[in-house]
């Protein structure tokens, strides 16, 4: 027996076992990667397309379903002070509350997350116009998010209004216990020499502009990410580049200060 060689062409066990396993694998692959996907394929699909799909590497599904770059035209949502006037606000809030159940996985049942490092915005008490505009922009692809776009896909215009009304009706919850910090200059005064308006002139506390969100109590990480996205042009759904012009002119330190201030309020 010792004179037998295992890895030798004369050993029938070698080619027998390897051949048998290879045969099973090849037949299974022909069924799994060619026959079954072929029987389920759409007309005109190439062989390579459905082999790749069966292997878990789809060639084309991702980009066509969810655009990863916003359209070139600016957001088409026109906001006025009257945009959100509802015939029956009570009913709208009620319907919105029901619809919001599907949002609670990320935005919590209270519309408010306790984590400062969250990259998900708090919605409790948010300006209804701001929520409505962002939902519309997600739906049209002007604001890009692989998570939010599928979520808003099925929402009607009325659904978006109801959701906005519901979240706006919730009380703003501030980070309890933090003593009031003095706002940094960028928040209170802006930087006039660099054409940066003060945050407070649009985003609450002093004044609010239609369509601009309240920033008080938003998670620090979320605010920082959004300002960076405006600055580097990843986010483009601000009409006339209002926010992009501001964010581009802010220093990273100012972005950090502003985010920290609003996040701590």
């Amino acid at each position: 027996m010792s004179e037998q060689r295992l890895f030798s062409r004369k050993n029938p066990w070698l080619w027998g076992s390897v051949g048998l396993v290879a045969a099973v694998a090849i037949v299974a692959m022909l069924i799994g990667f060619v026959w079954m996907p072929y029987s389920q394929s759409k007309k005109g699909e190439s062989l390579w397309t459905f082999i790749c799909r069966a292997a878990g590497t789809p060639l084309s599904a991702g980009p066509t379903l969810i655009p990863t770059t916003p359209p070139a035209r600016p957001s088409n949502v026109i906001v006025t002070a009257q945009t959100m006037s509802a015939d029956n606000p009570e009913q709208s809030i009620g319907r919105g509350g029901t619809l919001a159940l599907r949002c609670s996985m990320c935005h919590s049942t209270q519309g408010k997350l306790p984590l400062a490092q969250s990259t998900i915005p708090n919605l409790a008490g948010q300006n209804s116009l701001a929520i409505y505009k962002q939902l519309r922009d997600y739906k049209s692809g002007h604001r890009v998010s692989a998570i939010m776009q599928p979520m808003v896909e099925s929402l009607s215009d009325q659904d978006m209004r109801d959701l906005a009304a519901y979240y706006a009706s919730l009380p703003v919850i501030r980070h309890g216990g933090t003593p009031a910090v003095k706002a940094p200059a960028i928040v209170d005064n802006g930087a006039p020499m660099r054409n940066i308006g003060a945050c407070v002139t649009c985003h609450g506390e002093v004044a609010t502009k239609a369509g601009a969100p309240y920033l008080v109590g938003q998670p620090q990480a979320y605010l920082r990410t959004q300002l960076m996205n405006f600055a580097n042009g990843t986010r483009k759904n601000d009409i006339n580049e209002q926010m992009r012009n501001v964010a581009r002119n802010m220093t990273p330190a100012e972005i950090g200060l502003a985010a920290q201030y609003y996040g701590s309020q």
């Binding site: 027996m1 066990w13 694998a25 299974a28 590497t57």
Partner: protein
């Protein structure tokens, strides 16, 4: 005969294994109780998942690994008839396993790692839990190396002689475990532990699940190996028969070695990150792995028939009456085969892509793996421990009645536990739930079955305690002079074997080659795709 120090080594492995087993058994029964209609809601589901994590980790990683290791050392010395090489390393391996178990169980019992023994990223718990599990696995790798070293030393001294079947099977089990544990080791070392230590804040959960599936199915075959070794090499001798075919045994273990690992994606049938083609491929190879079990059922039934005919059994089925039914080993193998039959049939349902949809993540699955592992396999662990015990202690086991009672209780308990589980699974009861509202009219009809399975669990707990009582009492009787330990003899003992049936090179090459074919693309593709990581979900962190 076993060397005195080897006896101590094996006894230490077995006792640690059995203590972990009984502790985990008690936790399991507590879980059955608090989520049954017999108890009101415990309010804090975290306690339940803490218990499930401890139960799964002890039953999945500690108990079977230590049984396989202890049994493996015994086989090496008894079948090769040479002193165990590397005994100090073996003690070190056991030490690592014990330290690892304690390291893992402290954070689990503090509620810092209630992630279940399958880890389920993106959930991430305390790093010491994972480090503890890694230590247990590293301890077992020492055993893998020692089994290989002992075999090679023997082959050098006995050129051309067929490897005794027990050792051949034992080394196949060791190689299988060495390769199959690599998947979870990669997942732990490169994905979970960095996240648990706070070095990373995101984790690719889909990729982690693919790596875990590499381990998750073949680990079951590693658990199963000691039971199958007992089928082939202890049962025929214990009931006074002969092994029907030695070569068939070798073939069965070779087929396990080749096929049991590259099939794990059948655990991911409902996972979107793996392509349907690979799911089908793995389903086909899962079907292939039923062949060694069918071979085993045939061979062992034939061997048992030989025993019956030697005892004067007649007729096509009349020989069944002539079997030594008062022999514990006979009872154990009969119970094991019944449970293997039902569990295997359920397994064929699980491996079918379409049928799996109806039972996926239901209590059916919990029922399935308890029936196969806790039933068919663990009852053979009992049997092999009873068989070896006098040779470890030097004393006779005298409580034959208690032994039989224990086996009966385990069998009846396991049936009463798992059949209702399968049933409520078909009704749609999900698994991994801490609480069910049985006053809900949709769930109320399941209450009776859940109560039944609670009582099944109670029988199992009694049986488990009885098992350690019998073994402990085995230490207390007077010393006897032992006959030489014998493994089963085959009808035709092999004198010459084709080299393929007497070596592992070809089969290891096939095992690794098949892994590359079945896992290569899914893993490399998931590694290549960007933005597939998600934030970790810390478990046990302060809120």
């Amino acid at each position: 005969m076993l060397n005195e120090d080897t006896r101590k080594l094996i006894l230490a492995h077995f006792w640690v294994a059995f203590i972990a087993f009984v502790a985990a058994l008690a936790l399991g029964e507590w879980q059955m109780y608090i989520r049954s209609p017999l108890h009101s809601w415990i309010q804090n589901p975290e306690l339940y998942y803490r218990s499930v994590t401890a139960h799964g980790s002890a039953m999945g990683y500690v108990f079977p690994t230590l049984v396989a290791m202890g049994f493996g050392y015994a086989i090496s010395e008894l079948s090769l008839k040479q002193p165990l090489i590397g005994r100090r390393w073996a003690w070190a391996g056991l030490g690592l396993a014990i330290v690892g178990t304690l390291t893992a169980m402290i954070p689990v019992s503090m509620g810092l790692a209630s992630v279940l023994y399958t880890f389920y990223p993106p959930m991430v718990g305390n790093p010491f839990y994972y480090i503890g599990i890694v230590l247990v696995v590293v301890g077992s790798w020492i055993w893998v190396a020692l089994m290989s070293i002992n075999l090679h030393a023997w082959k050098k001294a006995n050129p051309g002689v067929p490897i005794p079947l027990p050792m051949f099977a034992n080394v196949a089990a060791a190689y299988l475990w060495g390769w199959t544990s690599v998947g979870a080791a990669i997942e732990l070392l490169f994905q979970i532990i960095p996240a648990a230590l706070g070095l990373k804040t995101t984790i690719d959960a889909g990729l982690a699940r693919v790596f875990f599936s590499w381990t998750l199915h073949a680990i079951v075959y590693f658990w199963l190996m000691p039971a199958y070794i007992a089928f082939y090499t202890l049962v025929p001798r214990a009931i006074g028969g002969r092994l029907y075919s030695d070569s068939m045994g070798r073939m069965a273990f070779i087929l396990f070695l080749v096929f049991s690992m590259p099939i794990g994606i059948h655990h991911l049938f409902q996972d979107p990150q793996v392509g349907a083609g690979f799911k089908f491929l793995h389903a086909v190879f899962t079907g292939m792995v039923s062949i060694p079990t069918l071979l085993t059922v045939f061979t062992i039934t034939a061997s048992v028939e030989i025993a019956a005919r030697l005892r004067g059994g007649k007729g096509a089925l009349g020989w069944l009456k002539a079997l030594p039914w008062s022999n514990p080993m006979m009872l154990a193998v009969a119970f094991s085969f019944i449970m293997l039959g039902f569990g295997g049939a359920g397994g064929l349902i699980n491996m079918s892509y379409q049928l799996d949809f109806t039972v996926h993540n239901t209590q059916w699955i919990t029922g399935h793996f308890h029936l196969i592992f806790g039933g068919a396999i663990v009852i053979m662990y009992f049997a092999l421990a009873y068989d070896l015990w006098p040779h470890l202690t030097g004393k006779a086991l005298k409580d034959i009645f208690l032994v039989k009672l224990q086996l009966w209780l385990w069998f009846v308990g396991m049936m009463a536990l798992t059949f209702p589980w399968h049933w409520v699974g078909i009704l749609g009861m999900p698994r991994r739930m801490a609480y069910f509202d049985y006053s809900n009219p949709a769930i109320a009809p399941e209450a009776f079955a859940v109560i039944m399975s609670f009582f099944g669990g109670l029988l199992l707990l009694v049986s488990g305690i009885l098992f350690v009582v019998v073994l402990a009492r085995g230490h207390l009787t007077e010393k006897i002079t032992l006959p030489e330990f014998r493994f089963s003899q085959a009808v035709h003992e092999p004198s010459r074997l084709p080299i393929a049936l007497n070596s592992f090179g070809l089969w290891l090459a096939l095992m690794i080659g098949l892994t590359v074919v079945n896992y290569g693309l899914p893993i490399s593709q998931l590694l290549a795709v960007k933005q597939t990581s998600v934030p970790v979900v810390p478990i046990g962190a302060a809120r």
